[in-house]
Symmetry: C2
Subunit: 201 residues, 2 copies
DNA sequence: GTCTATAGCAGGATAGAC
DNA sequence: GTCTATCCTGCTATAGAC
């Protein structure tokens, strides 16, 4: 990964992703990124055009494209309960697969940064769909909540919460068997129950 | 607030809290803090001993002391369902009352920063209690979940999620009446339902 | 494409006058 | 307690040699 087995551009991207996730954007210097990537400092400007552009390139490279995905699951997304289950699972799977990128997203969501625009552009399709499903699910009587905003917030909270794992194991001894494989389902179940859906499982 | 109606130390603390919340710790400069606080740059070193110490001072000043609080609610905390309801409500109330401090906490939780130690020291009592309540609630048959870690994560997610409000109203038009007053109860209900508790409301 | 060298600036901190 | 002036370090970015 950090060896010269891949091209420089990729090495820089991977190092930047790792470091942004651990230390935040501002807390990470271009020098540090290049050191870890075994790349010369000047190459960040040459290949990307600056630190800011590296940030954007990370999203372009690693954020799962959700354009075709929506078409692929068109049928499931018609039903609010099925659709929300699917989306929550997919988001949680993503946060497990790419902890780094989801850490970066997590951080940027609370900041009023110049990078927010980039982040929002990538996240909008999914969360807009979530909003739509919540609204339709309520109309159809499947979900029970007072405020859309409150429901939306809790769904966001559950699905994105995984990233605090690092600090969590300070409070929990890990004799508990936390199996990432089953977590997407647990999270989805939690969300649906929280929204007042009766589950037959 | 930003006028010279309070003493310098307090003005610095308030400005720092505001800016750390909006821009992150690394994204905020001492110069900027002092400018907003109408204070001279040298006073940060004089009164606190550096930027890092300002961060700690913010927690000492504004984090609600949870030592006496636990004794005060001793009775409610004996029952897992009651106890968890109480704590979730209190945390959510706190995140609404002091959005800035909870934004700061939110940010630091995902970072591996030198400030993590400070943050954890303040948060530990509450989250340790949550863990205990979850465990006991499961033993007593009140809660239903597979993994303690998974349950813990979802509770954290819901209770801390409020801070993403700023980015949320990009996706939600605010014709939805989100009433902060009722949110603590909604969040608590969501959590309990998610944990499989049968509610009579 | 990659490197060295350096420009140019902003950061945190403090010495010392008041 | 407060201020000015300054130190030193580290940052991003780029010009120009290879």
């Amino acid at each position: 990964m950090e060896l010269n087995d891949t091209d420089v551009k990729t090495r820089i991207l991977l190092s930047a992703k790792r470091l942004f996730a651990k230390q935040g954007y501002e807390g990470t210097s271009v020098r540090q990124i290049c050191e870890e990537a075994n790349a010369n400092i000047a190459l960040v400007s040459y290949h990307f055009g600056g630190k800011e552009k590296v940030f954007e390139a990370i999203f372009e490279q690693f954020y799962p494209g959700s354009e075709e995905a929506f078409n692929q699951y068109e049928d499931e997304l018609k039903n609010p309960v099925e659709g929300l289950t699917l989306i929550v699972r997919e988001i949680v799977v993503f946060t497990i697969n790419d902890k780094e990128l989801s850490d970066i997203i997590q951080q940027e969501l609370t900041l009023q940064s110049p990078r927010m625009e980039t982040v929002q552009a990538f996240l909008s399709p999914v969360w807009f769909k979530v909003k739509e499903l919540l609204e339709r699910g309520k109309e159809e009587g499947a979900f029970h909540f007072d405020s859309l905003t409150a429901a939306f917030l809790t769904v966001m909270g559950v699905t994105l919460s995984h990233k605090r794992f690092r600090s969590v194991n300070v409070w929990l001894e890990d004799n508990d068997r936390f199996i990432p494989d089953s977590y997407p389902d647990q999270a989805a179940r939690f969300v649906l129950q929280g929204l007042g859906v009766k589950l037959n499982s």
